[in-house]
Assembly symmetry: D3
Homo-oligomer: 341 residues x 6
């Protein structure tokens, strides 16, 4: 595994921590009387994965000032995330209820997040200057600015300071249309924030949303879209996309592709025939990209991210609790399930 | 989804409610120290599915006069079944112990039902006239008359009154040879009761059992058998069959076919590669037929029933706890397991 | 058990249905990875207990339009509550997280309810006229008007119509100071609504809150307070109080006392040395009062309510899922735990 | 611990093996979706306890010829019971559903046993001659002859042969009035079988049932009753009684008393303030008696049996899975719960 | 099923009993707070499978003299293994922690066994002469001599006596390189012990390890290797190999091949698309061989062993708890998962 | 709560981290098929409690280099312990199996620790100089030097350096006679190490073990013993004792007493009638002392420690996961179990 002359500062992530509650044994909610829970949220998932990879990671968020918030903090600490910038406030933690699908039955999510501790965050809650001390990467997604005006403003302040400090910014600016209830135009906001970023984790859909274009799915369309994106937002250096084919909720295929600014790269397709948990697989991909950008060349980065994404499908919960070695074994083709003793 | 000028009365089902007890985590009974339980039984499963589809459904049965019977009633109420004609009697509720199979290992069922509350039912226990108030569909299966003389007589009285009242009767007259211990000739009884029915849910096997014929599996044999059935039992309007191929206990394929009295219809085959629960899939099909007959044309009915049957393989327990919308999505081809947020 | 010439109409309750989530095995939230859940809420608890007593009960509320709301409805149906006036709306169901105490460690509750489906209820959501058809009792508590302006207005409309229709109204007007965030003065509101009620379930604390008085705990103070309450609110016919002594979270003592308008009544103290669940014990008392008012004389009513309250401490979950016979056995002194075969 | 010149042959027990199914966490059946299970039955419980004490024990019964029967056999083997005389037959295993009580709430049992594998036993199913090879103790209870004519006849044949072979017979002839459905007069049968026994495990209630007397509870009444019993049934050598006071389902007190034919003996009362499982405590007492009769003098036997009974209240399931040493520690007063490392 | 003129004596196995601890629901160890446990170990697994096939089997080992050792003995008794030669000693029972894999994620095992009760076994702990009374088969594997000098010496004494007594010895002499910490050369030891054996369960890898050869995988290489093995160790009569292809941890394919001394035999490949438990599948194969050698001709033996191995993938835990009939059904092609009622 | 002019540096603890495995629901090990697990160990328990109190705490130990060790580290991080000095080595983590007692049945522990990762620690594994950076308290117990020569030497080096650096050292030097297998005289070692300490957490038993004296239990004996201890080991400033009375495993009473060098102090006795978990209650006391010494006067310290000890009996697992506020409420007399909303 070829090492790149690496960054050594910490990675900072910003976003909502959600409690995920889901029935076990493929039960529907109304058949169940107990729920498993995990703490997740797209940006925390990236943080957890990076911490599992051994990086120094800090997550910035607000949690509730009660035993649920305590549990959220414990959960972040458990995976090794620095929680020193997590603030406890008098609003409940965001929640989502996941009814996991199986086979042809899709997973269904019900959210309770729009009045929670993160939705109530404001720029006053975060001391970005302190947070960015010895930081060299900052990661954000399109979920945070969609939650509330305060979340958007808080993120924007962070991004602006990150730019000033020369911190590399990665963006996963997916547009989730059923959020964005507080009055802002989501696509415009995502465009604005993409303009403050360096690494774009997304594909033609995301680019089309932001630019108002209608690029198609094919390789050359993806390349054209990426170039167009760089033209509009010159800070963007690279575009990393993930392509998924769903045979069923239990059987998925994924591969990665990228535009490095110079070259088009792609990976082999990995197939997961017995999905354990579909949530957070995109975040696992993003974490793979971030780890790769610090340690590998681009092709290795893309292969690593796709393997991380595929491996996440076998891990229960929101975060990809695997080591660099475990991901690398998938990259190296050890997918036959031989027992390690 | 094209609506048929619909029936608006309630559906009535009649049959044993069984407590199903089964180990979790693929354990064999002797490896386990706890059992999950569900209440089911082929006719109650149809009722539960129809209630989940939003219909007004009443189930007629006897349950035990103890906390197990209370739980059975609670369970029916929970899914929305009208239990006002359920009687509590001093005999234990029927039980079955299911050791769920996996892969090439078959599921194994052990019954304890032949001296239970339903086996002790008699015509005096049911006020059919009251039950059939504002009812326009009645569903029975070949299991009920196989349990005991009393169950047979009770059902027969119901069927005769249903005929008188012009209620549409659907029959699922499977012949289960290891029941029928009380002295009656099962095939003769099923023939008699089929003669009181309008919709036949079954295929060449069931027709052969009842008529003593030996039609083969092929399409034209199925059509010939259906016609012969209608010839013998002129009340039968339509025949709906379900064809299953088992790759393993965990991997099944199903499609439906029908003789509408005028045309042969068939559906695409649906494949379930990760079966959660195989029990009650036939009942899900029957419920799909009943729902379809009230709301759709025949082809849509058949597609809907097959999709319902396939979807049931992903639902834990005996009953198909899904909505019309969830089934329709499968009919419409959304089987890739995309998360619904 | 002496029967009173009884009311035969239904009982209506109004209030929030909350999902309760709590760790098992005495775990703290941060030690746990799964949560048991129940649906409750003070008024639904009363409804569930009355349904278990065999009464016809309807609960009026809004739930979320998702699988959590479906589960809430299923749960109400399961215990036999009429859910025909439950409305599904696009706001999440209220939740509370209970970390159950043990011994000297108190239970701790964290709420997430102030922006939920019930908090968003408005008078337009309830057709009180239809609800009160064939109703002769209506029960409310001080929680509902504390949640939101809409909940207050909806309740007030109901109460006014109930008065017009001559429905007996029971009030459990506890003042919960950490609610009442929407701007109204809680004590004034409770006074207003008490003025529309007939049965007061509460003691000197509740009377003091509403009247601004400072009666003490002793018998004659309780009597004086009750008389004062009747003086201020002439519709109030009877006052039922419940007195609790907590040795620890696991060891509680309860007795009841009442002012019938004419006499002071009291019960023996019942001791619960191994509390299973402390939640909903007051609601069990209220349900005992309501049942008693329909079936018993006042002393029997009070004894029955206190026994119901005590018995609830042995039942897991929010609602007192016991029969009239089970409560009566406690009234009759069968508390030694002899096995019933 | 003083040893008596001991018997070395095996102990034989005869009786139904029941599957016990009960909700966990103090749930009521209708609140639960899973059940713990154990195999028990009064005579098998005695066998299991004796096997845990290190004796050679054989249990004689019929079980179902299915995976439930397999599990029952596995369970007996697990505790070290010789199952070589257990026969598999085509009737379901007997079941009981236990809703465990707590505090003032009593445990409730619902049986499903009257048409099971044991109810269908006949003398042809047991080769008593082979069973009694190298046996020197035989234990029976009043449950077996209450189940069915066949069970009664099978037991009677065993008892007669045991008498012939000079095997010591212990009887626990409790009269359970809600059994005895097959036509025999239970009290007469118990009297007949007591006449074939040597050790009587029971008190004045049991003696009164059998003799039609009405002795009171006091010591001298117990002595008089015992003497009367010996007068009527000269084979009876000793009478061992167990006295229980139930504070609640969770708080019990027990002591033992005996008539040795010559002397009245009694034990200190042991108090169990946190009952884990009340089932099988009488069987634990009986096993203590049987073990004591082989190893100890009478006072030690009585103390040992009472300690075994008390200790069983702390053991989950039907059988007293404790060692002689664990019981002896209670006899010796080590009841303070000091951790053994 | 064609019967061979059979051996009727018992089978003896020797080896460590390990407690296996593993998270459920595909959790990683650090995500879990509870662990399922089973007792296993390669030779005990063979014993358990043979006992489930109905053979008389005795297992020889040391376990810990504590409640873990008690549980291990209970577990062996439960499946019907004779434990009369199991010794309890003052060293902890060996343990392994299994993090079960899924899909492309491999299972990971962490051992704690090198200072346990079995590692401390010495020849003085086993009375081989008594053990071999009425024994006609003895089975050993390459794990036992790898654990400690004492285990090696104890096994060697057993093998030498087995040879003297004419007992058929089967060897599964896999070389596990990460064991063998106590100083002996593993390959030399395995060669020595193979020289005392009659049936070789292993393939070219195992032969190459022992002989220092480098035969390839192909059929003729396998035959040549087998012949070479017989040349070096003339007591070896037959060689049974098992060939596995891992698509993923959840999807495996297996077939068997053998050199009977005269002929090359092979089986159809069986495919397991939903692996429940991969552990002990080789032991299930070995048990199939041992059962077959006593009851079937060689081709049937090989087919039976391969079917047993395949079926074990569907059974939770270490041991193949299936009957001869269940295996034979797979041999006969009933792999479609039809429910057995 | 009166604050003492406080220390602000971190607290360091040193000792083995054990995985605790125990059946749930009061099961005996041989009745169970799953085990709950926690990570604990007397010194880590102190660290966890102090971290829950909000202190900066670092734990020094070796863990296994496998997924069990990973889980141990995660568990320490979760509660907020600094794990930067935890080393991963190629020996298995120590384990103990706890069969929890109930009522008169004692808890039973089986250890597997004498060849584990901590037993293999050597002075080379710890950089004490780095560890003690900004540390002002160091805590040790008598367990660590009892495990192995290496553990003893490593601890002694730490203690000597702590003395040099003026760090306050607290000792909990219980003599556990069934450890000390490696050849050293335990009492002599404990005396030596006590001579390097400042705070003695122990009573007359511990003093008698170390000094070879035979002081009695009474107050004046305790004072005399404490004075004698100070005479022998002049560095000892204060002696804190904890007195326990066990009514049963489920019912315990505790109070504290101390010799401050000048005064005898004692607390009220606290009673726990429903013990959830008895393990780690002494460690909770020690943590209370350490916290108190930094924040309170002596009497408050003693009251706080006793309350912490009592509260721990209500917490599942080894560590006292409670806040300072929760303990203080017990000190303030809020033990009645009122629900906190």
């Amino acid at each position: 595994m070829q090492k790149k002359s690496g960054n050594t500062g910490k990675v900072v992530t910003f976003g909502e921590v959600l409690m995920r509650l889901s029935p076990s044994e493929n039960r529907k909610m109304r058949q169940s009387n107990s729920l498993n829970f995990f703490f997740g949220g797209t940006e925390m998932n990236v943080a957890a994965s990076l911490a599992s990879f051994g990086l120094n990671v800090q997550h910035v968020t607000n949690v509730s000032n009660d035993h649920v918030g305590d549990a959220a903090i414990s959960s972040m600490r458990q995976v090794g995330i620095d929680v020193s910038a997590v603030k406890k406030v008098d609003h409940p933690l965001g929640i989502y209820f996941l009814e996991p699908g199986s086979g042809m039955r899709a997973s269904v999510i019900a959210y309770n997040r729009l009045h929670g501790s993160f939705a109530n965050i404001t720029p006053e809650d975060v001391n970005w200057d302190e947070v960015f001390h010895e930081c060299d990467y900052f990661h954000w997604t399109g979920i945070s600015p969609a939650i509330s005006e305060g979340a958007y403003q808080t993120l924007r302040e962070g991004l602006k300071l990150a730019r000033e400090k020369g911190i590399t910014v990665s963006a996963d600016p997916a547009y989730r249309s059923n959020l964005w209830k507080y009055g802002k135009n989501g696509k415009e906001v995502l465009a604005e924030l993409t303009g403050l970023s360096n690494i774009f984790i997304g594909g033609v859909n995301e680019i089309n949303e932001i630019l108002g274009t209608d690029f198609g799915f094919e390789e050359k369309e993806f390349i054209a879209a990426s170039k167009k994106l760089q033209q509009e937002f010159p800070t963007i250096e690279k575009v990393f996309d993930k392509v998924r084919t769903g045979v069923s909720a239990s059987w998925q295929k994924v591969y990665g592709r990228a535009w490095t600014g110079e070259r088009y790269l792609t990976t082999a397709e990995l197939e997961i025939t017995d999905v354990v948990d579909r949530i957070g697989t995109g975040d696992a991909y993003a974490a793979g990209i971030l780890y790769g950008l610090r340690h590998f060349e681009d092709q290795h980065t893309l292969d690593f991210a796709n393997a991380a994404c595929a491996l996440k499908h076998t891990i229960l919960g929101d975060a990809n609790l695997v080591s660099v070695e475990e991901v690398q074994e998938i990259v190296d083709g050890s997918t036959g399930g031989r027992i390690k003793r």
